[in-house]
Structures are given as structure tokens and as C-alpha cells.
Subunit: 337 residues, 2 copies
């Protein structure tokens, strides 16, 4: 039996924004699992800013996707066929390394403890890589203390929405920065942020001064550029910046300078630390033990922006760079069984 497998391959490296033809969708035969391997039928594909980084050959934290290779991406799927006694067909799993395609062959995959309160999509969001990114970046680098002020950029995004809620649990004043009044309303009304600044309609530096009357102690940074400069201008002594992303620069064609207020790091004796969730994989148990109950009980809320159809993955990815999504951006490859 030959299964058709739709596959997105990187045809050429994008220059600036992704252009038609940079990635190409083709129909191929699904791979066959070898001894000890499993075949996973993918249900959901995670779309993340880092996908854009992997398409380029710039300096980065993992090897880039090579020309001709399947586009790398996180998926959740169902075990379709198993040559490994540890896996049973029908189980919902997350392959360790997957791609933009219908089927993934893998040596192993993370089994997901799906329940009524924790549907598969929770593991693409609050309990997935983006949730863990929020959790470890905020707690391990930001080290928020009760009464401190935490500022989160891309506040209505996959990571930001979780960062703010954890910071609230930790007793902080939480100020988000997002790209629309609707996003701002959502993080304040539904997620419990104390305030949110629409960077498209307000001067962010002035608004931060207003919303952070005691200054900024912790910044969870997803954006960089002007947004980071506005944060640096309001930094408290001994502030901590968890540097998670610099999405404002990922489509740049020319070298982008660092923030103009870089010297604030010196003057405010601040710390900034870049991090990548893969460094925290050994501690994922810790994350699941604390976040699982928060999510299952509804104390931490999450939202997914689901785009239907693997064929729409490339156009959907663009939403991350234009602010088109609210919550975690996901492609539904196939309906849940």
C-alpha cells in the first residue's frame, strides 16, 4: 500500500520575506518505517518564527534546513504503523524532529497524555514547546519576584500569552505589548494582564513609563528593534531580560544594529541572556509537573489560531511577521481521529 505524502521542501533560501517558489509542495510516496521505527500521520504542524531562521544560512542555533530538504517543523500526530513495541497505532505522539508533511517516520516520539481537559492542541500550545519556552525563559532567566514589573513583547503570541499568565501567578505586575487593540483587550480581559500597549497606536517608551510606574524589572523579549529600545529606556537597576526572539529582524536583508539603548545594560547593571528551549529538554518533566495542573484547571489559558490545510502552511507562516495571529499558530494537516 502506497500512501501519498504531501511534502514542503525548501527550494531556495528566501531573501527578506518568503517569496513564491522558495518552498515547494510536492506529492511523494510516504516513507516506510524500518525496524524499530514508527510511522506518524501528522495532525497539526506548529508554525514558529524560528522556521524563518532555519530557511536561511545565517548563523543560528541549529543547522539550517538544506536546499531540497523537507522543511523542518514540529508536529503532533497519530501512530499509523509501528515496528516498535513501545508504540501502538492510534496513540497521539509528538515526533522529536518532524517536518512539513503528512507523514513522519521516526525512531521515537513523545507520547502525549491527552485527556478531556488536555486535548492534543494543548500540547502545541501551553504544554508544548512554546509553553515551555515561556516557562523556562521567564522563571530561569527572568526570575520574577512578587511585586516586580514584568514586560512581555508579542504578548498575544504563542509564548507571550503564557509568559504573562505565569508572571501573574508569581505575583507580578504584568504589562504586555501587542499589535492591536483587540489583542490588548484579550490579554487584559481574558488572560489577566494588568495592562497592554498597542505598539501600532502608541509611543511604546512613553506608554511603558505610564504603565510601569515602578520601572521594569523583567523583560521577556520576543521582538527586538524599537520595542526593545523602549523597554531598555525604562529598565530598573538589576533588571533581567530573557531574550527569546528578535522577530523584527528575521526578514531583514541588511545587518540590523542592536538597540540604541544598549548602554542601559551597563548603566542599569542589567542582565540579558539568550536562550533556546532545546537547552531545557532535560527539565521538561519539571515543566509538565507544574504547568500540567495549571492548564488542566484553566488557571492558565491558551488559544490556538488554526489554519486548515498543509497547502496553506507558507501563507499562514506570514501571519507571524505581520501580526496576523492571536495565540499559537498551527496548521491542521488532518482532522483528529
Amino acid at each position: 500500500m502506497t500512501r501519498p505524502n504531501r511534502v514542503w521542501r525548501l527550494a531556495k533560501r528566501p531573501i527578506g520575506e518568503i517569496a513564491p517558489g522558495d518552498l515547494v509542495l510536492s506529492e511523494e510516496a510516504a516513507p516506510t518505517p524500518g525496524a524499530g521505527q514508527i510511522l506518524v500521520r501528522n495532525l497539526y504542524l506548529s508554525l514558529d518564527p524560528t522556521n524563518r531562521i532555519w530557511m536561511s544560512d545565517r548563523d543560528q542555533y541549529m543547522p539550517p534546513v538544506e536546499i531540497g530538504q523537507v522543511m523542518r517543523g514540529g508536529t503532533i500526530g497519530v501512530v499509523e504503523q509501528s515496528n516498535n513495541p513501545a508504540y501502538t497505532p492510534g496513540e497521539i505522539v509528538q515526533p522529536f524532529l518532524s517536518g512539513w508533511q503528512d507523514y513522519t517516520v521516526a525512531d521515537g516520539a513523545q507520547k502525549l497524555p491527552v485527556t478531556k481537559d488536555l486535548p492534543p492542541l494543548a500540547f502545541m500550545s501551553a504544554l508544548g514547546m512554546t509553553g515551555a519556552t515561556a516557562y523556562f525563559g521567564l522563571l530561569d532567566i527572568g526570575k520574577p519576584q512578587p511585586g516586580e514589573t514584568v514586560v512581555v513583547s508579542a504578548a498575544a503570541g504563542a509564548v507571550g500569552m503564557i509568559v504573562g499568565q505565569i508572571a501573574k501567578i508569581k505575583g507580578c505586575r504584568v504589562v504586555g505589548i501587542a499589535g492591536s487593540d483587540e489583542k490588548c483587550r484579550w490579554v487584559v480581559k481574558d488572560l489577566g494582564f494588568d495592562a497592554c500597549i498597542n505598539y501600532r497606536s502608541e509611543n511604546v517608551e512613553a506608554a511603558l513609563k505610564r504603565e510601569c510606574p515602578k520601572g521594569i524589572d523583567v523583560n521577556f523579549e520576543n521582538v527586538g528593534g524599537d520595542i526593545l529600545d523602549a523597554v531598555l529606556a525604562n529598565l530598573n537597576l538589576n533588571a533581567r531580560i530573557a531574550l527569546c526572539g528578535l522577530i523584527s529582524t528575521y526578514n531583514a536583508k541588511e545587518p540590523v544594529p542592536g538597540p540604541y539603548r544598549f548602554d542601559a545594560l551597563l548603566m542599569r547593571r542589567a542582565l540579558i541572556k539568550g536562550f533556546i528551549i532545546i537547552d531545557y529538554f532535560p527539565r521538561m518533566g519539571e515543566f509538565m509537573a507544574e504547568m500540567g495542573p495549571w492548564v488542566a484547571s484553566g488557571r492558565i489559558k491558551w488559544k490556538v489560531d488554526v489554519v486548515d490545510g498543509l497547502e496553506n502552511a507558507v501563507t499562514a507562516l506570514d501571519k507571524l511577521f505581520t501580526g496576523g495571529n492571536t495565540g499559537k499558530l498551527v496548521v491542521r494537516i488532518a482532522p483528529e481521529p
Copy 2:
């Protein structure tokens, strides 16, 4: 008895480089110590890049010097008169806060354990604020491990020369960056650095790649600008940057952007932390206990560039910004008794 006191006061805030008339030297009557106070006759004045920061009203880590005030600066002096039973005339002391003048009145001062092996100038250098800056910045933020590579900018300066020697004691490969072949020769031949790059005659990024074949694990940063960019381009995963100074920007008239390779902090999961020695004052005992014997035994060497005459303080300060000094820059106000 009225003692004449020469005093440098800030007349106006420099714009860019210090211009004639920004600081004014006048002869006044020395202040009289009140009850419990001491009068210190200053012998040496410490000149530091931070002096330039204090002259401006930019965001900084201490209040700026106000117009009309005595220029702030560290001194070492001799107790001339004491209304405090804890101090005896003739003792060599370091006032907690002093200025560019012949006499300082103070409530108290650090007594300096001067010996034959530890002359007063040692306490302006390896055992003074610049030595402590090197010690805590390198060890507390840089956390160098044996076998790691440490890069020090302004390597032949007051702080850099000490940083490199401590890093050698810690078993690291040490690469300096300095502004002349003579400075480079000195830190390699006399101080034991493994290599030194003359930034005026070499491409620093390429030279760092050559001299740091295993990449850079720790950077002690005094300069910023292009030098920092060259370091960022050669950073290892999980590198640490102790951000001590950004002297390349202190005379700037326009906002200076941060490093173009700012994103290396994210991609290499690096840490950067600004610091100021005053935060480490509670731990100065620790510093003296370890550095004292290193300095007394000659294991850590130090050099001072002594400029004679308080009247030359302003022109001497300029050496820091043009690379004119090697080692710690000091003004001799009066001969040692």
C-alpha cells in the same frame, strides 16, 4: 591657618570631547573638618573613563556631578588633621567619596595596609577599584573555567591588565585587544597573556578567529562598538560577557546603536551583564584576601601611568580616550610623605 586648596569644578557639561572651560581650576581655602571628621591631603587622583560619564547628565549609575560642584574622583591621601579618634595624622587612607582637589574633608576613609610590597599606588591599581572591577566582573559574571578562552578589550588598561592575569591564574587561554604593538607586547611578554590583537593594525574579527581557535567563552568588555561586534562574531554557545564599560561611546554626541551582531546573544545563548564595582563593596574583603597575596608576591603585576600635577588632570584624562596610557592612569597631586 588657612591652607590653599586647588579645586577642579565642573563649569559646564562637555559636548563630545571635553573642551577648555568645561572644567575650571580655582584656588580656594581648604575646608575645615567638623566634629568627628578628618582632613585628607590627597596624594593621588584616579582617572577613569567613568569620570566622563559623571560630567554628563545622561542616564547613568550615580547622580551626575552638578554644574559648579567639585569634580568627583577617587583619591588616596594622608590624614592631615583628625577630629576622629579612629584616625591618626600621617595614616594613608582612601576617602569613600573624594574629588579633584588637594584636600578632602570626610567622615571616614578606608585605611590602606601599605607595606614595602604594597605601596600606596598598588591601592590605586591592582588593589584599588580597578583591580576589584577586574576581579568581580571576571569571576562573578564571566565565571571562567580552566581551558576556556577569555577575551579582554582595553587589555593594557587599568582593568584589562588585571583581568587577563586573573584569567591566566584560572587556567584560561587569554587574548587581549589593545591599541598598539607596544601595549600588545607588554601584556604578552610581561603579563603572560597568550596573545594580543592590535585593533589599529588588524581586522579584529579575523584576528580573534585566528587567536581563539576554540571560540570565545568569556569576554570582559570595556570598549563596545566595533570591538564588541568582532567578539560577538566569535562567541561560543553559552558564552558570558561581563559588560564593564563602553568607552567607545562616552564622547558620542549622537545616539550610538548597539552591536550589529546583537542577535549572537540569542543564537549563541549568551549572557551579557552590566556591572559597577559599587555593587560589590560588601565583598571587598573577599577581594583583598585573594588579590592581596597575588599582588604582594608579584604573581599579579600592575603598572601605573603617573601624570604629575593636579593642574594637568583634564588633559591627562584625555589619554583614556585616545589610548595614550598604559596601565592605570593616575595624577600625582603631591609627593608621598
